[in-house]
């Protein structure tokens, strides 16, 4: 009889419960906002705004989640995005204005001279190559992200620098390289076909949202269904046991950081396409927020446990709250207070949820009585 009670507490059940909890919190928050400001919050335009706002931040967050599950952290995630955005937009601008000016002049010209740009659009060969150019741009952005991530992974896995320090160093490094390339100037004037990635809609669903959903599915599959994903969990939970189980820890870590880099590159693309510009420093405030969201989403701060559903819902919850507060005209600082309290409350709830299990430590013995 008693044993039956206990069986509830197995881990998949736990995960499910957690997901249900996050979902209900989301519904609650959404309902609260809708009740407080029905006309404005539920307006079609606001819902659509949310759909446009969430993806870039969301992708950063799931990138951060992956490294945090592996027991690390990636402070360079934003500057990785900046760097890959800048390099890929140079490629994009150069190719789409191809044949009429050299790269140096392009860089100088981008900042101020609108007339050159519109003139270029007129002379640009249409049709055939634009898709190719965009595909190449996407490839370059992801590749740069991949390489940046790989360097992080190398420093963490091979040189054995604590992740927080390694990525702090590369954060400055990537930012620096981006500054050296652009001297701080923003790059703008992307072709409309590219802008579509950030502002377009397919069947009424914003393209960034589609990309975000695809990224979620990909990462969820990666974590749950691939050897690499299980390896990431294993390395985060107990690196020694992972090594003893025949996993190649350093390879897994390198891949982990590289994947996060690729996601940063993807976020960069959406960012670029959404605001039609890329510049050093854009999105800096996402860094701590993404760490916050990942922790709020139930990922262990020491790695090894956590799932993507929690993180995605945390992204949604935070975005809904923050948008709702904006509409209601709250000061940002009050919002910070509320976020902070929310974080601590959620942490307390999560920790007390597990307290019962801790007490009945060896469940099998209890059952076998």
């Amino acid at each position: 009889m008693k044993a039956k009670h206990r069986i509830k507490f197995d881990s998949s059940q736990n995960e499910l419960n957690q997901s249900v909890a996050y979902f209900s919190l989301f519904v609650l928050v959404f309902a609260l906002m809708a009740i407080l400001q029905p006309r404005r919050f539920l307006s079609g335009i606001n819902i659509q705004q949310l759909a446009f706002q969430i993806p870039e931040f969301g992708i950063f967050s799931i990138g951060m989640m992956i490294v945090m599950i592996s027991g690390g952290i990636d402070l360079s995630i934003i500057t990785t995005a900046t760097l890959s955005g800048i390099i890929s937009s140079i490629v994009l601008l150069f190719l789409s204005h191809r044949g009429t000016m050299d790269l140096g002049a392009l860089l100088k010209g981008i900042m101020a001279d609108d007339t050159i740009r519109s003139g270029l659009h007129a002379t640009m060969p249409t049709g055939i190559s634009m898709i190719g150019i965009i595909v190449l741009t996407i490839f370059v952005a992801l590749a740069v992200g991949f390489l940046c991530g790989l360097l992080n992974g190398f420093l963490v896995a091979k040189v054995k620098i604590p992740p927080i320090l390694a990525t702090l160093g590369t954060m400055r490094l990537y930012e620096g390289i981006a500054l050296v390339i652009t001297k701080g100037a923003p790059l703008t004037g992307f072709p409309d076909e590219f802008i579509f990635l950030g502002s377009g809609e397919i069947l009424g669903i914003p393209v960034p949202m589609i990309i975000f959903i695809l990224a979620i599915l990909a990462v969820a599959t990666l974590l749950a269904k691939t050897p690499l994903g299980r390896g990431i969990y294993a390395v985060g939970e107990n690196p020694l046991a992972a090594q003893y189980s025949g996993l190649d820890n350093s390879k897994i870590l390198m891949k982990t950081y590289a994947i996060t880099g690729v996601l940063a590159g993807l976020a960069a693309l959406i960012m670029m396409a959404r605001v039609d510009s890329i510049k050093v420093g854009y999105g800096n405030s996402f860094l701590l927020q993404s760490v916050l969201v990942v922790i709020l989403g139930g990922v262990s701060t020491v790695g090894g446990t956590g799932n993507i559903i929690g993180v995605v819902f945390s992204v949604l919850i935070l975005r809904v709250i923050s948008s709702g507060f904006n509409i209601m005209g709250f000061s940002n600082y009050m919002r910070n207070v509320i976020w902070g309290s929310l974080l601590i409350i959620v942490a307390i709830v999560i920790s007390s949820g597990f307290r019962f299990i801790k007490k009945t430590k060896h469940i099998d013995e209890v059952i076998s009585r």
């Binding site: 008693k2 044993a3 206990r6 069986i7 507490f9 197995d10 881990s11 998949s12 059940q13 599959t221 749950a224 269904k225 691939t226 050897p227 299980r230 969990y233 294993a234 939970e237 107990n238 020694l240 046991a241 992972a242 090594q243 003893y244 189980s245 025949g246 996993l247 190649d248 262990s300 090894g304 446990t305 019962f356 299990i357 007490k359 009945t360 430590k361 060896h362 469940i363 099998d364 013995e365 209890v366 059952i367 076998s368 009585r369």
Partner: protein, 496 residues
């Protein structure tokens, strides 16, 4: 009363969430005696000592008398003031602090001093070490010490406090023979100083060597306290497991196939030298020796964790260099590590995920993704095969008991279908009943044609369950003996 009681406990009950962990248990410890508390895992031993330490409050009606003083509720501070000190299985030492600091810290805390000096610390530490006649470098970091010496530090710490009762929770589980002798010598010294010892354990030979009286716990109930002279091995095992245990001798068919593994002149600087042996299919080779004899280093080099500097390894007659874990796995060699908590298991992950960690490639579908059906099927199969007691394969491993955890580790490797299985201390920290089941598993595996290398401290176990025994000392093989030709006592001598 001629004999003075140190502590008397009666009517001790404790239940967690409706499950009785302790049911009306009583125990009394005399001054200057070595009292053994034995029982299988989950029998309530640790709950009982935690109650003595004041960490856990018993259910109502409990009556605890320490040195004649009555307590209905014991706090940790009371317990400590009364001179009760526990040496936990994990030793509760501070790896980042020096030997001297670790020894002195409890006494300093008790004295209520707010400031300390190095001189004082050293004085306390060296006095304590002198009491138990041991010499240790005071400035070494405890984390850098081998486990046996850490144990000594923990005992010295208890001694430094001038305790009247020292509780040792399975103190010998990670010690070699020599260290155990040393520990017993210390215990006798303490005893002669009038200090009582509550010795929690399950290695019967040790209990018979050191105990004055024995209390047996089973399923949260006390089966009474017995004088050691009234007991026999057989009787104790019967009491603990509740059934008569047949110690069957291993069928010692000498295997006659081609050698599975040949090791020639394997050496590694500072660790081991010129190791030579051959392993046949279906054979169990026991490896024994003291901690520091190089046995763990040697077997871990076969698994590629600690690659050797020179020498040859032949698997199935083919030269197989093993430079990494993956090389070993490719050659069909698997390794169940000594420390299952830190080296073998992912405690927060489910049983399922722990088992499949080694066999991803078998569970992929055509898209290269793990197929959840296969994952469940395979892991359930192993759970069933190894009789792992669990309601669900989704349960985190940390919720299993030691024996079942060990079986998860073994399952993880068997899932790979290895040809050679190295087991490093597979029965450490596992109680008698579970131990027997693990032995059975090992024999069954050998019966299926696996070659097994079985590292253990317990001479008894090695003699019982292997064909041949490699005895190691100071990094070298002293002798390889046939277990038919050797007695347990001979073996002990050879090890030292």
């Amino acid at each position: 009363m001629a004999e003075e009681h140190c502590i008397v406990m009666e009517n001790i009950s404790k239940s967690y969430a409706g499950v009785e962990a302790l049911d009306n248990v009583g125990i009394d410890i005399l001054k200057g005696e070595v009292h053994c508390l034995i029982g299988e895992n989950g029998s309530g031993k640790s709950t009982l000592i935690k109650i003595i330490a004041g960490v856990i409050t018993p259910s109502r009606g409990a009556c605890i008398t320490i040195h004649g003083k009555n307590y209905s509720k014991l706090t940790p501070v009371d317990s400590m003031r009364q001179g009760i000190q526990i040496i936990y299985q994990d030793l509760s030492l501070f790896p980042n602090m020096t030997v001297a600091e670790n020894i002195a810290i409890n006494q300093l805390l008790e004295s209520g001093k707010q400031t300390i000096s190095k001189r004082l610390i050293h004085e306390i530490a060296s006095n304590a070490l002198k009491t138990i006649c041991i010499d240790l470098k005071l400035e070494t970091l405890v984390g850098d010490l081998p486990i046996a010496k850490q144990q000594i530090v923990a005992i010295s710490r208890a001694v430094a406090c001038g305790e009247s009762l020292i509780i040792m929770d399975e103190p010998t589980s990670s010690l070699g023979k020599k260290d155990i002798d040393c520990l017993f010598r210390i215990i006798r010294t303490l005893k002669s100083n009038g200090i009582s010892i509550l010795f929690v354990g399950h290695k019967l030979n040790e209990i018979f060597e050191i105990a004055d009286r024995v209390t047996v716990l089973k399923d949260g109930k006390s089966l009474g306290t017995h004088d050691i002279h009234e007991l026999t091995y057989q009787k104790v095992i019967e009491l603990m497991t509740g059934k008569a245990l047949a110690i069957s001798n291993y069928e010692r068919d000498y295997p006659s196939a081609e050698p599975l593994l040949e090791v020639r002149n394997l050496s590694k600087r500072f660790q081991f030298k010129d190791i030579n042996f051959t392993l046949y299919p279906g054979e169990i080779i026991g490896v024994t020796g003291l901690v520091g004899s190089g046995r763990t280093e040697m077997v871990s080099s076969l698994f590629g964790l600690n690659p050797a500097d020179s020498g040859k390894i032949l698997v199935n007659g083919k030269l197989t260099p093993i430079r990494s874990v993956r090389d070993a796995l490719r050659a069909g060699i698997c390794y169940v590590p000594e420390d299952r908590l830190s080296q073998g298991l992912f405690m927060n992950h489910s049983i399922k995920n722990n088992i499949i960690i080694t066999i991803f490639h078998d569970l992929l579908n055509r898209l290269g993704l793990l197929e959840s059906g296969k994952v469940k099927q395979t892991s359930s199969l192993w759970v069933k095969d190894l009789a792992i007691r669990t309601p669900s394969i989704e349960l985190p491993v940390k919720q299993l008991s030691g024996g079942n955890q060990q079986r998860v580790v073994i399952a993880k490797w068997l899932a790979r279908n290895p040809r050679i299985l190295i087991l490093d201390g597979p029965t450490i920290g596992v109680d008698v009943g579970a131990k027997e089941e693990i032995h059975k598993t090992i024999r069954a595996l050998a019966g299926n044609g696996l070659g097994i290398i079985f590292v253990s401290d317990e001479a008894f176990e090695v003699v019982q369950h292997s064909h041949r025994i490699i005895i190691m000392k100071e990094g070298q093989v002293v002798e390889i003996v046939d277990s038919k030709d050797v007695l347990e006592t001979d073996l002990l001598e050879k090890i030292d």
